[in-house]
Symmetry: C2
């Protein structure tokens, strides 16, 4: 069956929708700025399970996924809209209010204005559409398509934490104040992620291409390479892994699988001339590889052996 | 139980969301223009029934409802985003493609660019969130809040057609090429409405307040009066009724009920100094009454008797 990606590609090609396909659309705003804008739909029992999360966590996550897209363009978020479809049973509870409170708190943290949206009913499931727009100096939005052979490939933080949180949820663990702290960390990475604060800094630093890690490193790197018509060589040993994962007592292979294919870490993946990373930022931005001139080929080096990586998006709740 | 209106009012007050509450949010764009932006969620079995409509009709309607909000601000639509959640059974059919085709055709008619959105899966029901933004000269957006006592109250076209189409659907009538033409007209008003083309003209003419007729004349007039802190006196005999309704063989009372409480006609309701309507536009813009200084009181004159109108939104599919 067709995937969403195939459907989007088909309508993009059929109708010539040039602005579609990056983390955000980039639109002219005024003499100084472009506007970037994104929409992200979250659907109950596809993107989240209510019995695994809390209204406040989900409200924050709804905004975080869109803020992450804005960060991935190197843009400053400015305003947001929220459309929400709520079933009767949740209207009767305090759910919508707590959800909105989580959404609002994150908006305040990023100083963005909530300007509108829509509230509807649904027959059964909760559905949310989160829209965020931001500003970026004219012509300076960081696209997926600017990576050049020889650029370094970097990520902004440790990976696999959100996927590890999902493993805990699947094992029946739920968030509460009494569980061990490493479990809290992993669960919150899944349930209440924060967008990366480094988007604007990386644009100013000279990032050539950027994407947020929502589907997982292997698929998002494939998207970036496809858009840039380049390839990549990455080294497994250099992929930073969330340290709290050790609590799960997984094999090394399983850990690397979470870091490579686990989605929703919302770190940024970017390419840049490595000389442009100041020494004092080396600890924050982890180099995992190098852009190559082999379009679409992603080589993975592990223990001096090279394999070709097939993009695997983690099918996440 | 709380209504959506109450929820929106509560969060607007609690969190001080000043931009929320009109047909669109108005945001500063550049030295010359403001941007208006709106989001509208349509949910299967709440806002539409798939067995009553066609994919192309629904795609067009999804965009039309948002274009109507932009028109109601006196703005020129510029770009759109579409988020759509599609259940498996519809992925397997050509539904998403035909839906998008209907959406695209209307976007082309209004020369607006489709810039992005999201595609997701759902477990059962179709859900659509339609986002449209437009431009309006700085400070000139026509709000709901500008009506002044003494202004005339006008609508841009005949009312009740969409509600009459709903009556036909409830009676089991479906759209096909072989049904009588009056039934086609009414069904298409419900299934495939068009946004009013008069928004910009009315702003230039000097409309003081405007709202699109989505919930129904009595509720939308109440929203406008509330925002403007005024009242209204309208005359039943002056409300233009869709002529094709006569095919339904309703009593006069029933017809007026459709025109007063039937939603989704997507005509514009506006207030203006009546002297500003040029003579050659008198036939297009129907005066139904006058703004009064009695906040929140809507008087309805019928056969020289005055009653107080209670706002009744039609609970529409």
């Amino acid at each position: 069956m067709r995937s969403e990606f195939e459907f989007i590609k088909r309508i993009k090609d059929t109708y010539g929708l040039g602005a579609v396909g990056d983390d955000c659309a980039v639109l002219p705003k005024d003499a100084e700025f472009d506007m970037v804008v994104t929409a992200d739909m979250l659907v109950e029992d596809i993107d989240f399970r209510l019995e695994w999360t809390r209204a406040k966590f989900l409200g924050q996550k709804a905004l975080a996924v869109s803020l992450s897209d804005v960060a991935a363009m190197g843009a400053e978020p400015k305003w947001a809209m929220l459309s929400i479809g709520v079933p009767e049973r949740l209207w009767k509870s305090g759910f919508p209010d707590e959800f909105f409170d989580g959404y609002y708190r994150l908006s305040a943290k990023f100083s963005i204005e909530i300007v509108g949206g829509d509230v509807s009913r649904t027959t059964e499931k909760l559905v949310v559409d989160s829209i965020v727009a931001g500003d970026v100096p004219k012509g300076r939005a960081v696209l997926r398509s600017g990576a050049k052979p020889g650029d370094g490939i970097f990520v902004t933080g440790p990976l696999g934490g959100a996927a590890a949180g999902l493993v805990l949820l699947e094992r029946g663990r739920r968030y509460s104040s009494t569980i061990p702290s490493w479990q809290k960390t992993l669960l919150l990475k899944q349930l209440q992620p924060l967008p990366s604060p480094f988007g604007v800094e990386l644009r100013k630093m000279g990032a050539t291409a950027m994407i947020d890690l929502s589907d997982g490193l292997s698929s998002d790197l494939a998207h970036l390479c496809e858009a840039s018509r380049v390839g990549a060589r990455i080294s497994l040993e250099n992929i930073p892994i969330e340290r709290k994962i050790s609590g799960l007592k997984l094999t090394d292979d399983e850990k690397f699988r979470l870091a490579l294919s686990g989605g929703e870490d919302f770190e940024l993946l970017f390419t840049i001339d490595p000389k442009k990373i100041p020494d004092d930022r080396n600890a924050q931005f982890h180099r995992i590889g190098t852009v190559t001139a082999n379009p679409g080929i992603i080589e993975l080096i592990a223990q001096d052996e090279t394999t070709i990586l097939e993009p695997k998006g983690y099918r996440h709740f």
